[in-house]
């Protein structure tokens, strides 16, 4: 692995046309690779690539996924690759491991791993590099780890494959590694299967398996995207620790807040090309390319949002903390009944237990009370497992409460039999997290919307016209009417899901993490749409999210949920600037980026709550 012929290999590389380059002032070669263009690379450069192109297929249907990308990864440095999904980030990451797939054609002017010319690698040489020199950590550890094997064996596999440890001696090495990535009780955890671990522990196990053969560089592909804010913060801390220990990182992410926390340099990717690159502070503070500016604009919490004063936020000084919160909330809504419109949804002392394995009783929703008025947007925040979705199920009448009750529009809701409830179901609708799994993939958009329209007795011949009106309402057009969900982008799918929810002319939308699976820029569009629709149609919205920044964008009032209880409630600005409950503070400080920094620093800006 100590090839000395640094310059000797260059002439053998396939001739590549010189890049014309996008008209950005800072193009890729001057960015991360700025110090290594003409001179021999610095001693610490582990992976060096210049002019990388990846094409899929051939002929007219060819897709040019990555165009002329150059970067250098060095030990102890973190380069971030930012862009929307489909911008070619992941393809680039895989191409660096020689794993772009059988249909891909990868060309480059220069691709050197540990001084060896990787363009001349055969399968055997690639295998020697993968895991040993460059490791890969993918996004969702639940699917990125073999679900049928214990994590210990997955980790040991890499050690054995590279001949570092004999198969029967892997036990202590695996445990040491699990301990290094912060997994408690490593001896026992090594025998766990991925589905038995929480999201954070799974991601740690995946990182451990990528570290097993002691690579110098890790390619981390969206390492925190599917995780809660606080888990995300801990994983980022782990990656930061690895970086400090001397591992080079290529951080692929669409989340600029994550990038800001970890990266030294950043390359912004758009449609396969790097449009802007440079030190992270520079690029984020003074973006030059329009795409980078748009990407930064889209980050929730970064925009200057002017809180709209509504009746709901006028509750003023609420000193409710913890247990008193729910009671205080109720008293407040009692007084407010005239101010903010009629109470549409009243949840009183709702309780729901689940019976787990071996007779363990778990309380998913514990004595929760709140009121949602017509036209109000209420946020519900908490980590996964805090009971948010169960509460949504109670509100939707899909789960029967074990105690307490839910009233809708002044009528009993949870207490009525389903037969009676069905006629009223159109007044409240769900916007799901992942519309792709909430749609029948074989149905066209017209049929999906038609089914919802049939529920409020729209005649068959009128449904298409109605469906089109709905699509236009959510910013889509007639061209989308005959598409199937798989032919739509993530944002378009979520728009169709909103259109379907609106089809029955509801008064209440329950949005269960509607934007958590979307890119930041798409996320911003969907949030704008929701805000506009709620305003123009006078909808009440119960907005469930683990993302505090998103809730702050959209909601006037927020409920913070932990272990099935509402621990804090109040106007969103007050909760964010002056959190009372320790858990809220913990949630806030876990958010990477601007909001989190404020909370971490403990310097709560004196944003006057009186402005409401």
């Amino acid at each position: 692995m100590t090839a000395t012929a640094d310059s000797g290999h260059s002439p053998e590389l396939p001739p590549m046309p010189m890049p014309t380059g996008p008209p950005a002032p800072r193009t890729a070669p001057d960015g991360p690779a700025a110090d290594g263009r003409a001179d021999p690379p610095p001693a610490s450069a582990v992976l060096e690539v210049a002019g990388l192109d990846v094409r899929f297929g051939s002929g007219p249907g060819q897709v040019h996924a990555v165009r002329d990308v150059s970067l250098t990864l060095a030990a102890g440095r973190c380069v971030a690759l930012v862009g929307e999904s489909g911008s070619g980030k992941s393809t680039l990451g895989r191409a660096l491991l020689g794993l772009a797939g059988p249909t891909a054609t990868v060309t480059a002017r220069r691709l050197r791993i540990h001084g060896s010319d990787a363009l001349a690698f055969g399968p055997r040489q690639w295998r020697a590099v993968r895991g040993r020199r460059v490791g890969l950590v993918s996004q969702d550890a639940l699917v990125a780890l073999d679900p049928l094997r214990p994590i210990g064996r997955e980790i040991a596999e890499a050690m054995v494959a590279h001949g570092l440890v004999a198969r029967r001696d892997t036990g202590p090495a695996v445990q040491a590694l699990l301990e290094r990535v912060g997994i408690p009780d490593p001896a026992q955890r090594a025998r766990s299967y991925p589905h038995q671990l929480s999201g954070g522990l799974r991601q740690r196990a995946l990182i451990a398996s990528a570290l097993a053969a002691q690579p110098d560089v890790l390619i981390t592909d969206e390492p925190t995207t599917a995780l809660d804010a606080s888990v995300q913060a801990r994983i980022l801390a782990l990656l930061g620790q690895l970086k400090a220990d001397g591992t080079g990182l290529l951080l692929i992410s669409h989340d600029l807040a994550v990038v800001e926390a970890l990266a030294d340099e950043v390359a912004v990717m758009h449609e396969g090309s790097v449009v802007e690159a440079g030190p992270v502070a520079d690029v984020l503070a003074h973006p030059r390319h329009p795409y980078t500016i748009a990407l930064l604009e889209a980050v929730p919490g970064r925009r200057r949002r002017i809180p709209e004063p509504t009746g709901a936020t006028a509750t003023g000084e609420q000193t409710a903390t913890g247990e008193q919160a729910a009671a205080g909330e109720q008293a407040a809504t009692g007084e407010q009944a005239g101010a903010g419109g009629a109470a549409l949804l009243v949840v009183t002392d709702a309780v729901k237990h689940f019976h787990g394995a071996r007779g363990v009783r778990r309380t998913a929703v514990d004595d929760v009370s709140f009121t949602l008025r017509a036209g109000e947007t209420l946020g519900l925040v908490g980590e996964s497992g805090s009971g948010k979705s169960t509460l949504a199920g109670l509100v939707l009448g899909l789960i029967a409460p074990d105690g307490g009750q839910v009233r809708l529009a002044g009528q009993p809701w949870s207490a009525r039999p389903e037969r009676e409830r069905r006629a009223e179901r159109h007044t409240l609708q769900l916007v799901p997290q992942d519309p792709l799994s909430a749609f029948d993939p074989r149905w066209t958009v017209a049929r999906i919307l038609g089914e919802a329209l049939a529920a409020i007795d729209v005649a068959r011949r009128d449904r298409r016209a109605h469906a089109l009106t709905l699509l236009e309402q959510v910013g889509l057009s007639v061209t989308h009417l005959d598409r199937r969900p798989l032919a739509l982008s993530g944002g378009q799918r979520q728009r169709v899901a909103i259109a379907r929810a609106l089809a029955t002319r509801p008064r209440l939308l329950v949005c269960d993490e509607p934007v958590s699976a979307l890119d930041v820029s798409t996320q911003a569009q969907i949030l704008a749409l929701l805000r506009e629709l709620a305003g123009s149609l006078g909808l009440a919205v119960l907005f469930i999210s683990h993302d505090l920044a998103v809730v702050r964008e959209l909601c006037a009032r927020v409920l913070v949920m932990k272990d099935g209880r509402i621990v804090e409630t109040g106007p969103v600005e007050r909760v964010f600037t002056d959190p009372h409950h320790p858990y809220t503070r913990e949630l806030l400080s876990a958010v990477p980026g601007e909001i989190g920094r404020v909370a971490r620093a403990g310097t709560v800006p004196s944003r006057p709550t009186e402005e409401n």
């Binding site: 059988p102 895991g131 890969l136 969702d140 780890l145 596999e157 025998r191 299967y193 589905h195």
Partner: protein, 316 residues
């Protein structure tokens, strides 16, 4: 402790229900076959007067109302008595046990052939290049769409009559087992291969395979350690069909190759209206099905750790 016993009890009750259903159905269907069972008892050529017929009826309880006969039958089965064969004049139990081994031998070899063949073909034809897969798919389609008796006759014609390599019928020579096993196992192998290859290709597209490759694993380890186990899951689902095909196929194969066995006995018994034998075979196959599906459930949990809690087993 109670939560561990409960699924087992539910399972056993279900098993009893399945056997009862199969036996009841067989009883009902046999009543619909025209002809007098007394003929089966006395034989078609015997000259028997009406008095003797009445006597026989009484002896075999055929003069009782249908419902009483049914209850008697269930009662006997519940206590493990299968009755006497009308035709062979010996206990059904001994008829079945005499003929069991040749069928079991045939079925086991055929299963082994099917599993080994399908795993081998799956692994060999799921590579990057497409043509082995295409050739194999074509052959699979051909084998699946060929009726079993026709396949048997074809193999006999080629290997026994023309080439003379293998014996035509059962001679006690192990070689006489080859053609029946191939006839029975080949169609099963063809279907299993299709299902497993589909599963293997799906598994090879999964993210964890990318992770495994990114660890520096060689392609054969990726396949054998990761993907193959995933492809076994859909194949396990076919176990019920597998057993059904073995039992049904045994009837055809034993007749084509003139082998002794349960299949042949069952066919003969149906033709002769030999009720007790048919009932015995039906009850036996119901028990076999129940046992196999229980074994498959355990196998599922062995292969897929995600299912362990649901089946009442504790994840190690």
């Amino acid at each position: 402790m109670r939560s561990a016993i409960r699924p087992v009890v539910v399972r056993l009750l279900g098993a009893v229900g399945v056997v009862w259903g199969a036996v009841t159905l067989a009883f009902g269907v046999l009543q619909l076959i025209p002809g007098d069972p007394v003929n089966a008892i006395v034989g078609t050529n015997a000259l028997v007067g009406p008095e003797q017929r009445a006597l026989l009826r009484e002896r075999y309880d055929l003069d009782q109302p249908l419902f009483t006969q049914y209850l008697d039958h269930l009662g006997r089965l519940a206590t493990g008595r299968l009755g006497d064969s009308y035709q062979l004049q010996q206990p059904v139990w001994s008829v079945i046990t005499d003929q069991l081994w040749p069928t079991v031998e045939l079925a086991l070899w055929a299963s082994l052939l099917a599993v080994v063949l399908s795993v081998a073909v799956t692994v060999l034809t799921s590579g990057r290049s497409r043509w082995p897969r295409r050739v194999s798919s074509l052959l699979e389609l051909l084998v699946v769409s060929t009726p079993a008796f026709w396949l048997g006759i074809l193999l006999l014609t080629v290997f026994s009559f023309h080439l003379g390599w293998l014996p035509v019928s059962d001679t006690g020579d192990p070689r006489s087992l080859v053609l029946p096993v191939v006839t029975l196992g080949l169609p099963i192998a063809a279907i299993l291969t299709q299902v497993m290859r589909e599963g293997l290709l799906t598994a090879l597209d999964a993210p964890f395979v990318l992770t495994a490759r990114a660890r520096g694993l060689a392609e054969h380890s990726v396949r054998s350690r990761h993907a193959l186990r995933h492809s076994a899951l859909p194949a396990l689902t076919l176990a019920g069909w597998f057993v059904g095909t073995l039992l049904g196929g045994a009837v055809i194969v034993e007749n084509v190759f003139a082998r002794p066995g349960l299949g042949r006995v069952a066919l003969q018994a149906v033709a002769d209206r030999d009720f007790p034998v048919v009932q015995g075979v039906v009850a036996l196959s119901a028990v076999v099905f129940v046992v196999v599906s229980a074994v498959v459930d355990v196998l599922y949990a062995v292969v897929d750790p995600r299912l362990r809690r649901r089946t009442g087993m504790v994840a190690a």
